[in-house]
Point group: C2
Chain length 217, copies 2
Amino acid sequence: MRIGIFGGTGPAGTSLGARLASIGHVVVLGSRSKYRAMESRDRLLVVNPELADRLESGDNAAAAECELVVIATPWDSAATTAQDHAEALAGKIVVSMANALVRVGHEFQPLVPPRGSVAAHVQAAVPRCRVVAAFHHLPAKELGNLGSPIDSDVLICGDDPAAVAQVSELVAAIPGCRPLDAGELSNATAIEAFTAVLLQLNGRYRTRAGMKITGIA
Amino acid sequence: MRIGIFGGTGPAGTSLGARLASIGHVVVLGSRSKYRAMESRDRLLVVNPELADRLESGDNAAAAECELVVIATPWDSAATTAQDHAEALAGKIVVSMANALVRVGHEFQPLVPPRGSVAAHVQAAVPRCRVVAAFHHLPAKELGNLGSPIDSDVLICGDDPAAVAQVSELVAAIPGCRPLDAGELSNATAIEAFTAVLLQLNGRYRTRAGMKITGIA
């Protein structure tokens, strides 16, 4: 599949882009500046030269032309960036992976966006898209470390079951990732907020925490 | 330790009471009605007669006399029940395990209480107590099934590190439970909300989902 990433130059977007390219997709790392996207691509290829044929770079408009688009921008520009490319995105699956968090002292706290989640905000901004929330809890560094599988479940939610199923297939192809259907997009509120707890644990235990659900065979 | 449970007649309170008694504590199952508490105790002893010496019943006032008190009432009476017994609770550790959830159609959605969490609401109601949030994600049935260990981490947060440490010790003694220090009480917001996702998964996968954090040795 051809996958575009808005904000493909940040830690989450870069790592996810590399990982998706490593399992056979063609990934367009997008950015507000196509030159920054080129830089990100160059940096990725130093470590993972085998991805050269499957990693492209461009501005966000180029990323928006892909079949499926992931929004990996900072949380407060996720909806506006999607809206800027509403025409190109219409009818497509748009994956929201951002978490609205703020650092207060030495703690991370979730911010609850007015519509309950970043994903719901994005869905409202591009109502003709099928927004799916996923990838919130994967530590970026593990995601980008292509030599190792990821030891984490990926909670996926959205209001279009076919879109959730397609993103689940994408996730299932990543070694060590298990997709779990977490229901409607309204569940993104709790999924996004929970990332604050994982970051909290990262600091407390000097680790990069992931999450697994027990009781599901 | 002598542990009191407010709302010790509901599924969560009954199961936790049985489990804590099974690891050697004396548990007072409290309720608004001491007769309902007697009934709950009787029911527990049919299945677990070996707990007879360590399970007591009483009204919530009797539970409030214990060294440590767990609030297992429905979420919307957690703070008022604590406040009713503020004098007896002063200076003690009060464990909040309630989640504010609402069923919307076939989905569970988190409600965000005005102070961000049930635990923060309780802390505001009894400012002289040391409130610790814990036990939100344990499936009640597994908790009460004393023959089997529990396969789940327990995220614990609170503003008094000594109180968090003491609750962590309590949790660590439950077979299969790992206590994790999730920081200040403000993190209860995301921890409580996340329970909605677990209930969602229970319905979707016909299971009783728990949660484990990866990346912490």
